[in-house]
């Protein structure tokens, strides 16, 4: 009864639409035209919004932010695959998907201009706000999913995180928790090749990130994350698995961060221009556009019209953002607790006194 193999595992990789625009017709999810167009628009909006933010940041009109350019297919196709009842739990690099979930861009800008008001009040439903502590949100996703299961709601949770996030303890605890209770969580790893300056190969010694899920017996797949059709298909399947009580799924979406980590970062310090140039050839938008053209539902004219409409939309949002500058100075005191407490209110009074004196003196 010596040594014997008791368990086998494998990781497979899925690509539907490659960088050259070749399509695997069998796997094509055959989305209706209006969905395809919505997806393309979403990705284009994400790209354009990113570019605008870069401008605003350089002009000092907003603060540091993490651009998403190159990764639009992941969050946008996932957002398309989700219903309103599903939960979108992001980190900080899902601009396209967030906007598709109806988060107003002007609020996104308010937030990135340093005001918590950017997280407040908009009715984007089940989209959780930014999460900066890497991997922490994976646990929130598991908790939300527990609540959905507990309440017997037909709803799944799609949570996004990077390749770097897979090294954190919270990531591990979240996958285990989701697996133990068979929770409807779709773990979407945006493997963009880098965690700031750490390349994927130094982040972990594993041959894939998809295989991380084997530790928990969670169904897993690696996909080309710049292939919006593959993202859509796998996220959708995973959501349905969640609805059916089959538990969590894991998706490694291989993509690339085409720009800097954040606007405070200088990627030249750790990667070559060549690598980046090469990566631009895999741009998720280019191949998707070709796919639409091949289907005969797209042409240069429509492209121009779309660009114009997006520009107007973004202009409008920036205009709203610029007009929202009347923020209460003492807002931080408002929500320390759900009810007022003497110690906070005394400090609020001190705060006002100080501000008044400051104005008076300065």
């Amino acid at each position: 009864m010596p040594q014997k193999e008791i368990l086998q595992f494998s990781v497979s990789r899925l690509e539907i639409l490659d960088a050259e625009g070749n399509l695997d017709a069998d796997l094509d999810p055959r989305l209706p035209d209006e969905k395809l167009l919505a997806l393309y628009r979403g990705m284009k909006v994400g790209r354009a919004a990113d570019a605008r933010m870069l401008n605003l940041q350089r002009q000092g009109r907003i603060g540091t932010f993490a651009p998403c350019t190159g990764q639009e297919a992941v969050s946008c196709a996932a957002a398309l695959a989700m219903s309103e009842n599903d939960w979108f739990v992001g980190a900080f690099r899902e601009l396209g998907g967030r906007l598709m979930r109806n988060e107003p861009f002007w609020q996104y800008l308010v937030y990135h201009n340093g005001f918590e008001e950017g997280n407040a009040g908009h009715e984007s439903g089940r989209t959780l706000p930014f999460s900066v502590i890497v991997a922490a949100q994976t646990l929130h996703a598991a908790g939300v999913a527990y609540a959905m299961k507990y309440k017997n709601e037909k709803a799944a949770v799609v949570v996004f995180f990077g390749d770097g996030a897979t090294s954190e303890g919270d990531f591990h605890e979240a996958l285990n928790f989701a697996s133990v209770y068979k929770l409807p969580v779709v773990f979407v790893c945006q493997n963009n090749g880098w965690a700031i300056s750490i390349p994927r190969e130094k982040q972990t010694n594993s041959r894939s990130l998809a295989q991380k899920a084997l530790a928990y017996d969670i169904p897993t797949v690696q996909i080309d994350g710049n292939d919006a059709l593959a993202v859509y298909r796998e996220v959708r399947r995973a959501i349905e698995r969640g609805y059916e009580g089959q538990g969590p799924s894991f998706i490694e979406a291989e993509t690339y961060r085409l720009l800097m980590h954040t606007t405070a970062d200088d990627p030249r310090k750790y990667r070559t221009d060549d690598e980046v140039e090469c990566a631009w050839k895999n741009c998720p938008l280019v191949r998707f556009k070709r796919y639409l053209e091949d289907r005969g539902i797209w042409n240069d004219e429509r492209e121009a019209a779309l660009d114009e409409s997006i520009k107007q939309e973004i202009d409008e949002q920036v205009r709203i953002f610029e007009s929202r500058r009347d923020f209460k100075n003492d807002a931080l005191f408002d929500n320390v607790y759900s009810t007022r407490h003497a110690i906070i209110e005394e400090q609020r009074a001190m705060f006002h006194e100080n501000l008044t004196l400051e104005r008076h003196n300065g």
Partner: protein
Amino acid sequence: MAKLNMVQALTLAMDQEMERDPAVVLLGEDIGPDEGVFRVTAGLWQKYGDERVIDTPLAESAIVGTSIGMAFAGLRPVGEIQFSGFSMLMVAQLEAYASRTRSRTFGRWTAPIVIRMPYGGGVRAMEHHSESREATFAHFPGVKVVIPSSPRNARALLAAAIRDDDPVVFMEPKRSYRAFKEEVPDEPELIPIGRAQVVQEGADLTVISWGAMMRPTLEAVEMVQLERGASIEVIDLLTLAPLDHTTFVESVKKTGRCVVVQEAPRNLGIASEVIALLNEGAFFHLEAPIRRVTNYDVITPYFGRELMYIPSVGRIKRGIEETLDT
């Protein structure tokens, strides 16, 4: 009305809150069939089942992190950390999310979770099982920290914590778990969080304490009163964050003298903040330095020596006497 010890009173609170509100769920290590290592969840798994009394994998960050997610989605999770010594593993989730989600989203999202944990020494436990870390949690803006001192206030405070819309770290003095019984009303009872209790009024000196230190404190106070006929006011803080400074500032304005009794090490404990607030609010009424009777700034001693380090009745008594004599 039944005579309950603190463990039973806590169980009662959870039971009644679970009956009242189906959104209340419990999660933690060994809280199901095992009923918690101190049996605080006795009978609840049997009554409410796996889905509401959740035995979790061994992962403290997960207990709090998933609680936060559950709360986002409308549940009222009550997480148990088996001993406060393991609570450091979840402070990141507490500090970065539970404490500030309300503020950073203007109330669009909130994290009404309770994190229960036994704390403190005196029960000959293993290493890392006897810490008093309330100050660590209390230092994070947005977190409420509550510590009961008797069966009755434990029940009423835990019920209030579960109904509270903010994250509450609920620390249970394990030395008091079974130390004594008290009448606890059958009907749900609430004590508002954020208020200290004047346990007895007095004119000559104010003693401030909380949790497991209340019992030796009251004993010492009684001795001093008997021996010297002094009139001593005693305050049980009950909530460590946010502090009810009005109550103790008013008290010390009246008495002019104060002793703070704390089980935790001295440096940066709750007593430090109490003194700072008294310095600000009652300075011109102080007739003597405020005295701290605390553990020392050493690691929490393993049980062979712990009782020499935790404030004893004698030390508290001397602290009061010396302050009266200054």
